[in-house]
Amino acid sequence: MTFTALAQTNNLTGSPYSLYGLGVFNEANLGKTNALGKSGVALGSDYMINNLNPASLASIHNKSFMFDIGFNTEFDSYENRYSDDSKVRFNFSNFAIAFPVSRKAAMSIVLTPFSNVGYELVGIESDIEGNQGTFTSYVSGSGGLNSIKVNYGYNLSDKLNVGAGLEYIFGNIEEKETVAVESNYLLTTRDTYYKNFRATAGLQYNPTESTGFGAVVKFPTLLNASQDLEVTKVVDLTEVAVDSEEDIDIDSFKLPFEFTVGFRQTFAKKFTFNIDYRKSLWGNTDQTDNIGTFKDQDFIGAGLEYLNNNKGYKYWQRMRYRIGFNYDNGYLDIRDESINNMGFTIGLGLPMSNKNNSFINLAYSYGQRGVVSSTLIQENYHFLSLNLSLENIWFVKSKYN
């Protein structure tokens, strides 16, 4: 899978809520976190590349080379008071490698979608100014942003790992609007390009083997935006160019300051519980979006993993069983209604070998976005993800040779 292919993959989502902001932010992550309520800043990177906290990289085994590739499929159904619809999509979701750079430090390079846009809305009736009539418009959007992230984790002491990451976010979102008045149409296409870096810092404190704390901050950044505008109209059944402008300076999109705190606890030797709380200070960005108002977002996610026996003889004993839950209250109020997002997750980690920590990680989540109120749409999604989380032990083979 090449970098270009990812950048060109459009419509990774079918959510009508991708209309807002930069689209629906990608929540699919690496390894097992998809099955654990999309949480895990306190988890290590010894059995997977944990992309949620750069500090976790410090726990990569020496001489390990880790690799993670993910795919997902999403089945969305939508309903409002009047109608419903559904959609299935298959996507490539991530590509990542991680490797130690010294006895105490490791790095990862992670390629993921950052946000996805894919919506088509018809029958938006608006008033014509100057008479009693209305006109109908149809809006659609596609595209999304991608992220390439370099993380570095360092083992400060037995109990304390620190990490930092630098992420380059880039991509474009195409929005089309068709306005029909009488028998003529105006077609507006806006292709908006965004790009900039964003920094992340994290730490993990592990007072005991079975207890850990994690914290991550993402620093605010401005995604610099420029827009290409193409306007045509269909008059007398003929399409005519109206306007074409390139590289129009438009307002940057502000990504907020974000912090996550998390905790993990292993108990009864077989269960690991983890929980994350994240706050995203969207309210401070002072942005507005069409009819939406940005507001601070709270996220809470929790997961539980069961492992019978890592060295068990039976395969089921070595399998990992996961369950999780996540909830957030959205970062946008649309006509004074929050777009809450709630999901339940279950998953399996299927070991691929006795000799290393390679897993097939499967996760299923069922979630709801929005509400069936007088205005908004409720979206129900089934999300299935497959991650191949592979570990190779460097330098080991030569020993046998």
Binding site: E125, V139, V181, L186, T188, V231, D236
Partner: protein, 437 residues
């Protein structure tokens, strides 16, 4: 509603895979503003083309009518008619000569009045002046005014009649017959030396009609009858003089004129650049085909659209030009359509106005019986873009003329934008797609 369905259908066809949810305006707002504007000033004036070029192969127009607005309008036709052959049986004996003119179904004004047509012999060659190819409505030629070759009174039946037959002078007929039979005339040059042509005009009625006649060689001709004696009985034969209607230079034309001296249009002169504002003409602009009266319409302040904040474009523009019901009748009927042309500053027609698809732009006569409205609906979306993108505000003038403007005498009175009722209006749909300039 059908539009929404159409859009749905289009989306369904194109991206069957995608979500098409009726989201409604509560889920998102449009980024576009649509404004309906109808307060543009319109400038209506009237002028007269100094001449109207006569087309080839069209019709013969003869007659006159009078109305209080346009005065007395008349058309007189000058026609060269030439033999099909110069071969007449030596035994043939002259019988009679008749001018046959077949109706082509065009008429204007009341056909219930009896009309009298007079035919005179033209005394000079029927050809355009100065080696030109065409005649004009103002062209005229000398003819023998004191003597008629024939005269005919009749009730016009332009729709269901076949033709009118005007018996011509037998001395003239015999003379023509004799010279061809006796081989004094054997070709066109010799014929033209002896016979130039005829002119057909109607006697001054108070209020008659103007009638259209065919120029087809099978339908309109001078027919000379003769008899060839045979053993038992004579055989009737004839030969025809016909119109060479499409040959160049032209060999026939209609002289169309009007006397407006005692009407509101008295101020309209043959000076093409003499523009009379609608304010001085009862808040109207005027069209009279054949005579050459035409309106000039200008939208002086269209560029005020640019004063609206944001980037926008005209999505639809229609000029509605109303006609008062007292200004037309079944006899003085309106044309179904008026073609739009641009005028230069000297009021010469520059070009036909076309829309983006390349089709001619014309005003279509529409009737809204509910509001007893009768108006021409003139689609000007493309042309408003021309105005908006032009460097200067001047020299962008529209004129409206009916089809057959050169070979009919229809008249139309168009209300301007200041009249009391049914004022002309430009209805414009303007879409702002970018709020920030």
């Amino acid at each position: 509603m059908w539009l929404a369905l159409l859009i749905l259908a289009v989306i369904a066809c194109n991206t069957a895979d995608d979500i098409t949810l009726e989201a409604g305006e509560t889920f998102t707002d449009t980024n576009v503003r649509v404004l309906k504007l109808d307060t543009f000033d319109l400038e209506f004036t009237t002028f007269k083309f100094d001449s109207v070029q006569m087309p080839l192969g069209d019709r013969i127009l003869v007659g006159n009518y009078t109305d209080e607005t346009f005065g007395k309008t008349s058309s007189q036709s000058f026609i060269e008619m030439i033999p099909e052959s110069y071969d007449i049986d030596n035994e043939g004996v002259y019988d009679s000569i008749v001018l046959i003119m077949a109706y082509d179904n065009y008429y204007y004004n009341d056909t219930l009045n009896q009309m009298t047509f007079d035919v005179h012999e033209v005394t000079e060659r029927i050809e355009p002046y100065n080696d030109e190819t065409y005649f004009y409505n103002t062209s005229t030629l000398n003819y023998n005014e004191n003597e008629t070759l024939g005269s005919h009174s009749f009730m016009p039946r332009p729709m269901d009649g076949d033709s009118i037959r005007i018996k011509l002078d037998d001395e003239f007929g015999y003379n023509l017959f004799d010279q061809i039979q006796g081989n004094d005339i054997t070709d066109l040059d010799e014929f033209r030396e002896n016979f130039k042509g005829i002119t057909v005009k109607s006697q001054d009625n108070t209020n008659g009609s103007v009638l259209g006649f065919s120029v087809d060689t099978e339908e309109t001709m001078i027919r000379v009858y003769y008899r060839v004696p045979e053993d038992v009985s004579d055989i009737e034969q004839y030969f025809d003089l016909i119109i060479s209607a499409t040959s160049t230079p032209a060999t026939y034309f209609n002289h169309i004129e009007a006397d407006r001296s005692s009407t509101i249009l008295a101020s309209i002169t043959n000076d093409q650049e003499n523009l009379i504002s609608s304010e001085d003409l009862d808040n109207a602009a005027y069209i009279q085909a054949g005579v050459g009266i035409a309106p000039r319409i200008r939208i002086p302040n269209l560029k005020s659209l640019y004063e609206i904040d944001g980037d926008g474009s005209v999505l639809n523009a229609v000029m509605k030009i109303y006609v008062n019901s007292e200004n037309f009748s079944d006899q003085l009927f309106l044309n179904d359509s008026l073609y739009a042309n641009t005028l230069d500053r000297h009021m010469d027609i520059s070009e036909e106005i076309t829309d983006y698809s390349g089709s001619s732009v014309f005003g279509t006569l529409l009737e809204n019986s509910e509001f007893s409205e009768i108006y021409y609906s003139l689609p000007l979306t493309t042309y408003t873009d021309v105005i908006l993108s032009s460097e200067s505000d001047e020299d962008l003038y529209i004129t409206l003329i009916p089809s057959e403007y050169e070979s009919s005498v229809n008249r139309t009175i168009l209300n301007d934008d200041e009249t009391n009722n049914y004022t002309a209006v430009l209805e414009l749909t303007y879409v702002i797609y970018n709020e920030e300039d």
